[in-house]
């Protein structure tokens, strides 16, 4: 059987501060296979960002094991792209210079990698704006630019931490469909953290619902649709979509019980 790109085995994470220690993630186990798209939903503060930080190697796990392409996280050659909540384009660099940031840092400013960027720019409609500064772009275009910056390094795994939450509702709907389609089309294995259930269902192969802190896996919902050529937009009108929505919403509602009562 195919080795998963990413495996979590009973992972725990604890934050330490002077005043207290916070068990943030407890006993997390799941697998991400090639071309798979997994979303995480859960009450705020349940450890979703922490989980992505662990995958990215920004935090050392407290206990358990994380395998990337079958190797333990620290000595794996897996390339991980991380898109944060805001686009974080650097205002003093042109769009082009922003997109080459990762290449510059990793000393990969060669013609091969630059041609990837040029192609992404052309494909995703930012070619004419490559010499503009971020402030001259709309929110949706900035988000695309941030995605290209991440994709320029050809990541094996893409991490998205509420990537659309800074956008207004209308833009958000378009941008999430737009970016969702790009990721699907390129078949990039992705972990998405979101508050928006519709967003999660429309893009994912599986949705993982986390409990409130300490975050544990409450349930894993596999998402399949009977329509052909599934796109984030087309599935929103299917009857299955509503069933998934209700199912996940109920699982989450339990978690917010003391909040709701």
């Amino acid at each position: 059987m195919e080795t998963p790109l990413l495996e979590f085995f009973n992972v725990n994470y604890t934050y330490h501060t002077i005043s207290c220690e916070t068990l943030s993630l407890k006993d997390i186990s799941f697998k991400l296979y090639k071309n798979e798209f997994i979303s995480f939903v859960g009450p705020s503060g349940c450890g979703k960002t922490t989980l992505l930080n662990l995958v990215a190697g920004l935090l050392p796990i407290t206990s358990g094991q994380i395998l990337l392409k079958g190797n333990s996280g620290t000595n794996s050659d897996a390339n991980i792209g991380y898109m944060l909540q805001k686009d974080h384009l650097l205002e003093w660099r042109t769009i082009y210079k922003n997109l080459t940031l990762g290449l510059e840092i990793q000393k990969k400013l060669d013609s091969y990698h630059l041609s990837i960027i040029d192609e992404l720019l052309k494909t995703y409609g930012l070619w004419d704006f490559r010499h503009a500064y971020p402030r001259q772009l709309s929110g949706g275009m900035r988000q695309r630019a941030a995605l290209i910056r991440t994709l320029a390094l050809s990541p094996d795994i893409l991490l998205l931490d509420e990537p659309f939450s800074a956008l207004d509702y209308q833009t958000r709907l378009n941008v999430s469909d737009d970016i969702g389609s790009i990721i699907k089309e390129k078949g990039i294995s992705t972990l998405l953290v979101t508050h928006d259930l519709a967003e999660a269902i429309s893009m994912s192969d599986r949705v993982i619902v986390l409990t409130k802190r300490p975050g544990t896996i409450k349930t894993i919902v596999p998402i399949t649709f009977s329509i052909a050529n599934r796109t984030p937009k087309s599935v929103r009108n299917t009857p299955e979509f509503n069933q998934y929505y209700n199912k996940i919403w109920e699982a989450l509602y339990d978690e917010n019980e003391d909040f709701n009562s």
Binding site: K86, H88, L90, W92, I105, Q106
Partner: protein, 272 residues
């Protein structure tokens, strides 16, 4: 009906009148400012001539003008201005480079910054004129002392402010560099320094003024030349026109240095 949102080629009558009114207002403000200054000079001159004030102590504009002419024609004024400017600029450059380096060191090593911060706060709060006599004893009455004096006025606050700016950088921007596998030096070069350019420029604007203050304090005590020396020498020999002229020139220098930095800031700020 279609409403036009873009600005029309020919501004409407209301727009023209509005712009005219704003311009007229600006002009009026300038005129008032000039009138105020001219009125002050006239009053001063008249008071001296009518012996309402003692012109030996208070001097008067015509005497100032005379002194200005003599000192420009023998070149001594430019000499003193040059010395003061030179000391100020050297001090300023040392302060900026020094505080950038030290703030970077602090950012790099948090323990170091925690250890040294209280000392810096105390040194910054200390009235620097109290240091000047000590510096003279230690370093002698020369230009070095005056430059050190200028630095001592500005550098502690400058370090603290630049370091604060460094630590206030959006932590997610630093995280971005980390997610791209950047090291600490790249964080500094790609995010921390560029996002602090506006802050550093405004700190520079303050520091150029503080360095001038430091130089004048130093020249009061340790110089044989420079505008600060001219003020002290003039007051001791009751040449009040020397004193007041020097003060006036200090005003102009302070303003010009500030304006130059402000212009630089305006040029750079649009990129940050």
């Amino acid at each position: 009906m279609k409403t036009k949102i873009s600005t029309p080629d020919v501004p409407s009558l209301e727009q023209q009148q509005y712009v005219k009114k704003i311009h007229r207002n600006h002009l009026l403000i300038r005129i008032y400012q000039i009138l105020l200054f001219a009125g002050f000079l006239t009053l001063w001159e008249v008071s001296a001539r009518q012996h309402w004030i003692n012109d030996f102590i208070f001097c008067c504009p015509s005497k100032l003008a005379q002194t200005l002419i003599t000192m420009t024609s023998d070149g001594s004024l430019f000499h003193h201005i040059g010395i003061t400017l030179y000391e100020t600029l050297i001090g300023f450059v040392i302060v900026i480079i020094g505080s950038l380096l030290i703030a970077t060191l602090f950012w790099w090593n948090e323990t170091l910054s925690k250890v040294l911060e209280p000392y810096l706060v105390i040194l910054n709060a200390l009235p620097k004129s109290a240091l000047a006599p000590v510096l003279i004893v230690w370093l002698g009455a020369n230009k070095t002392t005056i430059i050190v004096c200028a630095c001592s006025v500005a550098i502690f606050g400058s370090i603290l402010n630049i370091y604060t700016g460094f630590t206030n950088v959006d932590s997610d921007k630093v995280k971005l560099i980390e997610t791209l596998h950047g090291n600490r030096f790249q964080c500094l070069r790609l995010v921390v320094l560029p996002s602090n350019v506006p802050n550093i420029l405004s700190i520079m604007k303050v520091n150029i003024g503080l360095c001038l203050v430091g130089v004048v304090i130093g020249e009061f005590l340790a110089a044989r030349e420079g505008l600060g020396y001219l003020i002290i020498y003039g007051s001791q020999t009751f040449k009040m026109s020397h004193v007041l002229l020097s003060i006036l020139i200090l005003c102009v220098i302070a303003m010009l240095l500030y304006l130059i930095l402000q212009q630089l800031e305006k040029k750079l700020i649009e990129y940050f």
